[in-house]
Symmetry: C2
Subunit: 342 residues, 2 copies
């Protein structure tokens, strides 16, 4: 994620386009130094690559959104970049075809370094953005990073993936030819949010708002989940785009709306529906954005009151005076009424 | 690990020969159903492949050795086995050469499916065991699983690894030719403990005891750590063997001793020294065996009193009556004197 800092990434258990291969922050932090609410300084772990010694304190602080302690140091795992990497752009007629392609790539155990899905609108906004020198087809598209330790290995993987794409009715399979094109292309993917806002400013309202939210579902539910969510947003008449880290079953909806209460409330309802669907599909209310204030009620829906009350016990054991980011993730007092805003 | 059950593996955050590629239980459990000390039943997560929703309860219970709740259900991640896999046996003159080979394989980002180190004694006990039809060289040895999605891909990886081994002065590089040989070979690795005990019964005492223990250290410290530990055990005159999941910097020492207090105490001192060395090398007192009663004091040494007191707070928040595996991992009362036994 452009602009993300390590501390914030630890706070939300962040991930992004490379998580399909390298994991999220949970898999990439070896140890933390944390200042607790009472001022105690704890080092959760030295730097072995694995450990079965004691409670997994590192894992408890990652994703706790600053509610359990303040992280002052982190030891990160280093991953090795593959020596050779191709970036491919594959266009499809339907989101379903693109999603089933990803499912087969994952099921075959092919270690793609990134598997990104962009919907028709997102491709349009990328074309409009001026960030790319080529025009791309404005249909559901996969952007793939396929690598290996030798040119031959990278080629082998690429050919296998190409065959899978064809079997799932891909329209075209194009490579970024040069290092510049690779950079340009991945950069276009990274600026999805800004391209979508730019489009909204031109076509919706100069003061356009964007509701950006994410869920993650089991791979088998992915195509259906995205298609139904997109159909609902479309039917409600909102401009929107979708991007997904689909190798992890994780996708984002970006809903553009005017800065008026009716539109805000309508957008909120669409998000609620997307989250309800993810929960019904045995997924999660957020794959990487975190809960904050905005998804506290959804978290209760996903995890149940008993799990939240367990989280509350942990919070109060570590921070009895509620001084660390109080009421983020869950309400400390379960009877507090819902607040406005997200 | 032969004989391991899923519940126990969750309890200790277990791993084994395949963890270098597929991770430990921490990376392979998606969600748990847990009965808490007060009878509440909590489901930590549905089954998305990733989630940033709420505290990482799944990760808290994994490796907590039954002290925080009783796991009654687990949802596991499924990994895809590579379609083609070679098993190779590579012998070296020194442990240092074998360990530096592993470091280079890991640094080059080669995804070996398993990287196992066996010392000269372990190879001898394997030969003696009657489990293998071929005799292996009785020198430090790597057993490797190298795979790929096509024959070509597996061959490419294998050739690269072969070159690395040669550069680090390997004496021989042999493949298991048939499926039977692969099975036999990996089976020999798996029965390391039984082969060592069998050797001890013949040569040390019919009532021989084995102290089996593990540590994990950063890769850069691995060769030195194993060599120094082995030298100490040898100097103390104990029969022993070493096996290591060296792709993770994790190794096991198996010390054979007679069932008399003097030998028990001497073995204990050697383990203490191995653990002290791991801590000094920024490692951990156990990579996969867990703490139990035996390594409670070592855990204090590794993590410090403040980290233990944080674990104690978590324990007492969830189990105020101390009914779940009390005093495992750490003493609930820090002033309780040390007990006998391990």
């Amino acid at each position: 994620m452009p602009g993300a800092c390590i501390g914030g990434m630890i706070g939300t258990s962040c991930s992004g386009t490379n998580a399909a291969r390298y994991g999220t922050m949970r898999e990439n932090v070896l140890g933390l130094t944390v200042v607790l609410a009472d001022g105690t300084i704890v080092k959760t772990k030295q730097r072995p690559r694995k450990s079965a010694a004691g409670y997994n304190l590192t894992g408890l602080f990652i994703g706790s959104e600053g509610t359990l302690g303040i992280v002052t140091e982190a030891t990160l795992r280093l991953n090795v970049k593959p020596k050779f990497e191709n970036v491919a752009v594959v266009s499809f007629n339907t989101l379903g075809d693109a999603a089933s392609t990803v499912a087969e790539i994952v099921q075959q155990g092919i270690a793609a370094n990134a598997l990104e899905l962009l919907d028709d609108n997102m491709m349009k906004y990328v074309n409009e953005s001026g960030e790319v020198t080529t025009k791309y087809e404005e249909t559901p598209t996969l952007m793939l990073k396929l690598g290996g330790n030798s040119k031959e290995a990278a080629k082998l993987t690429t050919n296998t993936v190409k065959e899978i794409c064809k079997r799932h009715k891909s329209n075209s399979f194009r490579f970024a030819e040069t290092e510049e094109q690779k950079f340009e292309l991945w950069n276009a993917r990274k600026s999805a949010l800004w391209s979508t806002i730019a489009h909204g400013k031109r076509t919706v309202d100069p003061d356009v708002q964007v509701w950006t939210t994410d869920v993650a579902v089991p791979m088998s539910q992915l195509a259906k989940s995205i298609e139904q969510t997109k159909a609902e947003i479309q039917a409600a008449g909102f401009e929107h785009s979708f991007v997904g880290h689909v190798g992890d079953g994780n996708y984002h909806a970006l809903i553009l709306f005017k800065n008026v209460p009716e539109q805000y409330n309508a957008a909120k309802k669409l998000v609620q529906s997307m989250v309800d669907r993810a929960i019904a599909d045995e997924g999660t209310v957020t794959g990487e954005h975190g809960v904050g204030y905005g998804k506290r009620d959804y978290l209760v829906e996903e995890s149940g009151e008993d799990a939240i009350s367990l989280m509350r016990k942990l919070k109060l054991a570590l921070d009895p005076n509620r001084i660390l980011n109080p009421d983020k993730v869950f309400r400390i007092d379960p009877n507090e009424p819902e607040q406005e805003g997200h």
